[in-house]
């Protein structure tokens, strides 16, 4: 595999996730929908609110998209198939995802509307709740891999996937991943009880970018779940990249569907649960991994 093929594969993944998202949000599986919806958005006016913070308003969608794509760039699709094999890839995924929050806060503040403002600051609260839960399980993954490289994270799962080695970490990371890409029930920043929230003041081409960024985030986070916990490219018979692809789409579909079965959480609940149960459990997970690794030695 070569670099352009990663991009193509990722674009294909984006399209599939977009189709799945349409399915999850309208209940109909239509293959042409993302393309048609995208063109329809481009054909509509791109309204700018009166005297917004123009710089932040324009930057926010780009930042959201860039954060999703950059995080994906360090995640491997197959053995040796990774755009940028950073030695600190695991950490880099975190740092790119931190800018999702920056982008949403910008997008919430910039238009100067009450709904988006509330929604933007809400997401910061959500970040305070989930951030530790995304970081700590990844640390436990790095403990097994003895490295911060994402490829090493996959290689360390040859004998046992992290899903089995640290189920608690997987559960926490999965939930936190849903919170990062603000999927239901964590869709506070774009919630329908604030008339679309942060995305509410974006129209036309800008809205298209915001929606694309959301899809990219879902794909990236699913890929991250696969790489860190589901053995990445590991799997019998089929080529590695097919495994990665299949697993990623499966995780994305699960993420998109599962959250819709429960009501949207309140920021207060997300925060309290994240800190009172999430962080202690994440510490227990680290301790568990630490002890099992000692046992292995």
């Amino acid at each position: 595999m070569t670099s352009p093929s990663y991009v193509l594969l990722f674009a294909l993944g984006l399209y599939v996730v977009a189709v799945l998202e349409g399915w999850a949000s309208t209940g109909r599986l239509r293959l042409a929908r993302p393309l048609r919806a995208g063109v329809a958005l481009l054909g509509r006016e791109t309204v700018t609110p009166r005297r917004p913070d123009r710089v932040l308003y324009e930057t926010a969608p780009v930042l959201l998209l860039a954060a999703g794509l950059l995080a994906a760039a360090v995640l491997p699709l197959d053995r040796g198939a990774v755009s940028v094999d950073l030695a600190t890839g695991v950490l880099f995924v975190n740092s790119a995802l931190a800018y999702v929050m920056v982008g949403l806060v910008m997008a919430g503040w910039a238009p100067g509307g009450a709904y988006s403002l509330v929604a933007g600051w809400r997401f910061l609260g959500q970040l305070v709740a989930y951030s530790m839960l995304i970081v700590m399980p990844i640390t436990a993954v790095a403990m097994r891999a003895q490295s911060l490289s994402t490829t090493a994270a996959v290689s360390s799962q040859v004998h046992l996937w992290n899903l089995a080695a640290q189920p608690l970490g997987f559960a926490l990371f999965f939930l936190a991943a849903m919170a990062v890409c603000f999927l239901p029930p964590f869709d506070l920043p774009v919630s329908s009880d604030l008339a679309g929230g942060v995305a509410g003041e974006y129209t036309g081409a800008r809205l298209a970018v915001v929606r694309l960024a959301r899809v990219a985030l879902v794909l990236t986070l699913s890929l991250a779940v696969v790489v860190f916990f589901l053995g990445g490219w590991l799997g019998p018979v089929l080529p590695g990249w097919v495994w990665t692809f299949v697993k990623t789409i499966a995780v994305a579909a699960t993420m998109l569907v599962v959250g819709r079965l429960v009501p949207r959480l309140r920021e207060e609940q997300v925060l309290a649960w994240g800190w009172k149960y999430g962080i202690p459990l994440a510490l227990v997970n680290i301790l568990w991994v630490g002890l099992t690794l000692l046992g292995v030695r």
């Binding site: 054909g43 998209l65 950059l70 940028v84 950073l86 030695a87 695991v90 503040w109 009450a114 700590m136």
Partner: protein, 120 residues
């Protein structure tokens, strides 16, 4: 690839994202501009024209969490290098980190007991 080339590639990714967005905006622009009309550029607020500026001092009710988070977050800076060498050092590393996390957890418990972990 040397590390520096890798960082260059990451920068190129950022630039191409910007390029992608610019291209989308150009396509959209080629389909027509935005007509200026009264009321159109006012943020939607339930069918009323926005009455007051909202950029005022905003009460963030989760600042108790935020303060704890600011301090607690720094733990990560130490945990990543620790995780890398954990298997090499074994029990000693586990003990070290247990003490460190124990100390931090005390802080968390204190905050909890003082009511930082709730809406203010």
């Amino acid at each position: 690839m040397t590390p520096l080339e890798q960082y260059g590639l990451l920068a190129a990714f950022v630039l191409s994202t910007i390029g992608l967005v610019a291209m989308l905006r150009l396509i959209a622009r080629s389909l027509g501009g935005v007509r200026k009309e009264p009321g159109k550029d006012v943020p939607f607020s339930g069918g009323e024209l926005a009455p007051k500026p909202v950029w005022v001092r905003y009460h963030v009710h989760y600042y108790g969490f935020a303060l704890l988070f600011l301090a607690f977050d720094m733990e990560m800076a130490f945990m990543y290098p620790w995780a890398v060498v954990y298997q090499e050092l074994g029990l000693e590393a586990l003990a070290d980190m247990a003490v460190f996390l124990g100390i931090l957890f005390l802080g968390l418990l204190y905050g909890w007991s003082q009511g930082a972990l709730r809406r203010q």
